[in-house]
């Protein structure tokens, strides 16, 4: 798990790579060409970033004819946000206990 975290953080620490990932999250599946048009870097550079994102499990590719389409795998980010969702569940159930206790307590 810690290694997985490190890899995710390292992968997303690069602003260009993060921007590509965010675009795929927001806009859905896209080709390398479409991503290059707005990335501000060359197509080989975009392909390289996509390769790193794919290795980290953050994007998945799909080949169609001569085109490769990429889409974001948002689930890969779960380890990063895990503790907050776990704690939210924890606190909600503890608040249930607290309300039960308050009902039983004397003024």
């Amino acid at each position: 798990m810690p290694k997985a975290h490190d890899a995710l953080f390292r992968t997303l620490a690069d602003p260009t790579r993060r921007a590509i990932f965010e675009r795929l999250c927001r806009e859905g599946e896209q080709t390398v060409g479409a991503l290059t048009a707005r990335a501000g870097v060359s197509q080989p550079a975009v392909s390289k970033h996509l390769g790193v994102l794919r290795k980290a499990g953050l994007v998945r590719d799909r080949h169609e004819g001569r085109q490769t389409h990429y889409r974001a795998q948002i689930g890969a980010l779960a380890p990063l946000i895990d503790w907050t969702s776990q704690m939210a569940d924890f606190w909600r159930s503890r608040f249930d206990n607290l309300e039960d206790l308050l009902k039983r307590m004397d003024q």
Partner: protein, 139 residues
């Protein structure tokens, strides 16, 4: 604070702040809804919360404002860094017409992520903010 994540749980309860305050600050009552403990409502007091699963949290009281605010650190050390957590829990009580709005905010980070967070400081807060929106939509 921009390097951290937080959890907020809020609930309106049909009880006066004074009563809720007792449940938040008296050890035998805390044990009934949260965890076994040796808590004392004194700033600087170190105490432990002991979970049923055997885990022990290291805590230190940060703020005590009777019937209004209670804050303590909530740290969990574990051999596996993935389970480490350094955080601060703050309870805020606000009287409402029908009772009290109780707000719990927990702010913190996994220590093993600290370096990565620090190294990419500029981009992360916005990133997480947007990420939350994305995740909220895909749920």
């Amino acid at each position: 604070m921009s390097e951290t994540l937080s959890v907020i749980v809020e609930r309106e309860m049909p009880f006066p702040p004074e009563k809720i305050w007792r449940a938040l600050t008296q050890p035998h009552l805390i044990a009934e809804w949260l965890m076994k403990n040796d808590f004392e409502p004194v700033v600087g007091r170190r105490f432990n919360l002991r979970g049923e699963w055997g885990g022990v949290l290291d805590c230190e009281v940060r703020a005590v404002e009777p019937h209004k605010t209670l804050s303590y650190t909530w740290n969990f050390a574990h051999d596996d860094a993935a389970y480490n957590l350094q955080s601060v829990v703050t309870f805020t009580l606000t009287p409402t017409g029908a009772g009290t709005r109780l707000r719990m905010e927990q702010t913190g980070f996994r220590p093993n992520q600290k370096q990565a967070y620090g190294g990419a400081k500029a981009g992360w807060p916005q990133f997480f903010e947007r990420l939350e929106h994305v995740l909220a939509r895909t749920d």
